[in-house]
């Protein structure tokens, strides 16, 4: 009916009030309230990249851990605020009074022990003995799957607590596409064909 665009505008002008036509034709831009020209920017700091906060775990795999000082650790480990020891424990069922002996005699007393159990386990009967033993030694403990234990250790360490992580590498890893891409970026050149 109104094939001419001018006619369309004319029809609108008749039907709509003037203000609504102005709104449609004039491009408006408002200053966003959340950003005030760089005065107070929101910043994020990555704990693992702060060198003076101590040793932290950057990643884990089924064979070991990568720390934030560019060291890859193979196997289970006992990680202290600024030092790391190998721990000859393969499975959470091997964690006993004997394998935790070092932690019970360290002076000053350890604030908290974070035990990474490896995989998430439905049967938590193994934890009763660990809890009982460490309570007898007046030590507090946190038992978590390694995936959760690593960030817990990092955070507690960044707070400056005397935290010890007893980490066992997990046996199965649910890797996302992002994880696989990051791994490839680290170990090979993405744009080179693999032989």
């Amino acid at each position: 009916m109104y094939s001419n665009p001018l006619l369309k505008v004319a029809k609108k002008a008749v039907i709509n009030p003037v203000s609504s036509i102005l709104k449609r034709t004039i491009y408006r831009s408002t200053i966003r309230k959340c950003y005030d020209g760089g005065q107070e920017r929101t910043t994020a700091t990555i704990l693992n990249k702060e060198e003076d906060l101590g040793l932290m775990i950057d990643g884990y795999s089924e064979v070991g851990f990568r720390l934030n000082n560019n060291v890859t650790v193979l196997g289970s480990m006992l990680i202290f605020p600024r030092s790391v020891l190998s721990w000859t424990v393969d499975d959470i069922k091997d964690v006993s009074d004997e394998s935790l002996a070092l932690l019970t005699i360290i002076e000053p007393k350890i604030d908290i022990i974070v035990i990474g159990t490896g995989d998430k386990m439905d049967n938590v009967s193994y934890s009763h003995h660990i809890f009982h033993f460490l309570r007898k030694c007046n030590l507090s403990v946190e038992i978590l799957p390694t995936a959760q234990a690593c960030p817990t250790f990092n955070f507690l360490n960044s707070e400056g607590r005397f935290v010890v992580g007893a980490m066992i590498p997990p046996k199965t890893i649910l890797a996302s596409d992002d994880d696989i891409l990051r791994m490839k970026l680290r170990y090979q050149n993405l744009y080179e064909l693999n032989d």
Binding site: T72, S83, I106, P108
Partner: protein
């Protein structure tokens, strides 16, 4: 009405005001205001009754003037010393060096109770034992750090220091350093996928 009158009067009042004021200000000694007539009469009566005392009052008294010249105002104040520095029992700190982070992340205790060991010492004896078991034996460790033998054996059984391997050619990207045949495989979750196009027909 009064306002109108004062408006008329004011210019005449203020006529040549500035120069008249300057004339009075520029005088060397101000002329005293005249006294009341009654006061003036009384002063004259006193002068007539006792002229000597009156003359003496007007004259300058040399002795009193001399006394006045000898009067001086001086002030003495003691400088207070800070009371804290003299306290021998609790002296103020003299070391002003900045605080340094301890090497192992924790402040080492001065006194270690029997049966316990500091982290650096523990790391030391673990390293030494695995480097040379004969030289740094279990008995030797027990004796040196006053630890129960059973605990030391367990520590040495379960805790070891790492052997460090540095790749020879550092220019290459990091190589996978795990076992060549993986004992565990990475599991990827299978999610349900949305079919593209027609729904499946049951057969």
């Amino acid at each position: 009405m009064g306002k109108v009158l004062s408006r008329v009067k004011r210019p005449f009042q203020n006529f040549n005001l500035e120069s008249r004021v300057h004339k009075i200000i520029s005088q060397e000694k101000p002329v005293p205001a005249p006294k009341y007539e009654s006061v003036q009469l009384e002063i004259e009566r006193l002068m007539k009754d006792n002229p000597e005392e009156f003359q003496e009052m007007v004259k300058k008294n040399e002795i009193l003037d001399k006394h006045l010249k000898n009067v001086y105002v001086t002030s003495k104040s003691e400088i207070l010393k800070p009371s804290g520095s003299t306290n021998v029992v609790k002296p103020l700190p003299l070391n002003r060096s900045s605080y340094e982070d301890p090497v192992f992340g924790i402040v080492e205790p001065e006194n270690v109770p029997k049966g316990r060991v500091t982290l650096p010492n523990a790391l030391q004896f673990i390293t030494n034992h695995h480097a040379n078991a004969a030289k740094c034996s279990v008995g030797h460790i027990c004796e040196k750090y006053v630890l129960p033998e059973e605990t030391v054996r367990n520590i040495l059984k379960y805790c070891r220091t790492f052997e460090v391997y540095v790749p020879q050619n550092k220019n290459t990207k990091a190589k996978y350093a795990g076992p060549s045949i993986r004992r565990i495989k990475v599991v990827t979750r299978k999610f349900k996928e949305i079919n593209s196009g027609e729904p499946k027909t049951e057969k």
